[in-house]
């Protein structure tokens, strides 16, 4: 069997070029990237916050009787419940609940998706940061405290930089998972890359080209993310 050059050109034209079909994929990809990026920001910031709250509560074991102790204990309890719920329920269900119940008055689908994935990722990132923090040698923490550094100074200069380094591999995985997970955005009608491919199929009636094309785009981005995280890991280890 021979495939002529003309056949390939026709194939690409009929599936992607004609009637600006490619724009369904391109615009969808743009949405996928935006959702991933802003969800990542929320997940990262909230994840660090949740992890620090839980670690501080464990380290300091503050009394419920002082105002600041009460606050830390309360926040830690809320964090635990939050993480349990988020990790124990499917992301798709969370997305549907956000869209249909909690944010029912918010008509910007992109923001609904960003908030859902950001809040979801935060729970996972919190666990990753927490294990990274707990992997820091307790001896180094004692050494810092023995020199007179406060708990906060020790956290910011010794614990967090090492925790960040410890959890980079797991953290990279989480970013990749987050990126791929945004492909369920179509459940609420947001036209991301996956949904864009679906719409394209409804125009061409050929399933394989758009799905394979979107799969390839996801794969390329994942490979790029892997590269970035490997480079980061190399940068932060000094041997």
């Amino acid at each position: 069997m021979t495939v002529s050059l003309q056949a390939i050109v026709d194939f690409i034209h009929n599936n992607f070029i004609k009637d600006d079909y490619w724009k369904y994929l391109a615009n969808g990809f743009s949405i996928t990237l935006q959702v991933t990026f802003f969800a990542f920001l929320i997940g990262f910031a909230l994840g660090i916050f949740l992890a620090i709250i839980r670690v501080a509560c464990k380290d300091l074991s503050p009394s419920w009787k002082t105002p600041s102790g009460f606050l830390i204990n309360l926040l830690s309890k809320i964090s635990n419940i939050y993480i349990t719920i988020i990790r124990g329920t499917p992301t798709t269900v969370q997305l549907l609940i956000m869209f249909n119940v909690i944010l029912v008055n918010l008509h910007n689908l992109k923001i609904v998706a960003i908030l859902t994935f950001g809040l979801n990722s935060a729970a996972y990132m919190a666990e990753i940061f927490r294990s990274g923090i707990q992997a820091v040698s307790p001896g180094e923490v004692e050494a810092a405290r023995s020199l007179g550094l406060s708990y906060m100074q020790t956290m910011s200069k010794i614990v967090m930089p090492q925790a960040f380094r410890n959890c980079l591999p797991a953290f990279g995985n989480e970013v990749i998972t987050l990126f791929k997970e945004t492909s369920i955005s179509g459940f609420i009608g947001l036209v991301d890359l996956t949904r864009g491919a679906g719409i394209l199929i409804s125009k061409t009636f050929r399933a394989a080209p758009p799905y394979f094309a979107s799969a390839m785009i996801y794969l390329i981005v994942v490979l790029i993310l892997e590269r970035i995280f490997h480079a980061l890991e190399r940068r932060v280890t000094h041997d």
Partner: protein, 241 residues
């Protein structure tokens, strides 16, 4: 310099320290020996409140530090500690390890701290390691730098918690040599160690601790090792000498 009054420390139901009394005067070099699990490290760690005493008082420079409204960080600035596992900050290079605390605690400016760090590194013979990270150094080098790190704060008292126990035998000497130098320079030191040669040579007082109590105390190290008075001391010394 530091007083311990009727110190008790329990870990859950385990009584580790059972009524320890001790006073260390300026420029003293007190060596603390005893079998493992006797509470000697715990006693040292209670002095700078890395362990919180169950009861009793720690009085540092005429101030009770284990209860009341005390800024423990301020107290610890004046009380250095050297650990068995060195505990250098693995994310910082040697210079940063030395300058972190004095700069963060506003003791010295960054420039002053770096100048002082270089002086100390020259003194301990490791000026060329200034940009190295801890994992690039031998155990002996790490421990000497850990001592220098403690010295950066100009402490009034230095606590040593088995500083040579994690070292390869050929590196013990260089660390003991530095400690001897410090002792001769007049530093007040409390040293938990198994190095009996160092104890004989440097200590002005020896404490033998067993089962959470000071069993025997002597201001004459040679006499302590040659004529131990208590039966438990004799048993311990016969096993290790």
């Amino acid at each position: 310099m530091i007083k311990i009054r009727n110190l008790y420390k329990n870990f859950d139901k385990l009584e580790v320290l059972r009524g320890v009394n001790l006073e260390i005067e300026p420029s003293e070099k007190v060596v603390i020996i005893g079998p493992s699990g006797s509470g000697k490290s715990t006693m040292l760690r209670c002095m700078n409140l890395l362990e919180k005493p169950t009861s009793g008082e720690i009085i540092f420079k005429d101030q009770v530090i284990n209860h009341g409204n005390i800024d423990i960080n301020k107290v610890r600035e004046n009380m250095g500690m050297v650990f068995q596992q060195f505990n250098l900050f693995s994310n910082l290079n040697v210079l940063e390890n030395l300058t972190l605390a004095p700069v963060m605690r506003h003791r010295l400016s960054k420039d002053e701290a770096e100048t002082k760090a270089m002086e100390l590194l020259k003194r301990i013979g490791l000026p060329e390691k200034v940009k190295n990270y801890p994992n690039q150094l031998s155990g002996g080098q790490q421990q000497r730098i850990a001592i220098a790190r403690a010295l950066m704060m100009d402490p009034d008292l230095l606590l040593f918690d088995e500083p040579t126990s994690a070292l390869d035998p050929e590196m013990v000497g260089e660390v003991l040599e530095l400690m001897t130098e410090l002792a001769e320079a007049g530093m007040t030191m409390a040293v938990v160690t198994h190095e009996m040669g160092f104890a004989r040579q440097v200590a002005n007082r020896i404490l033998f601790i067993d089962e959470g109590q000071i069993v025997e105390e002597s201001y004459d190290p040679n006499d302590f090792f040659d004529n131990p008075q208590e039966e438990r001391t004799q048993q311990f010394l016969s096993k290790i000498l």
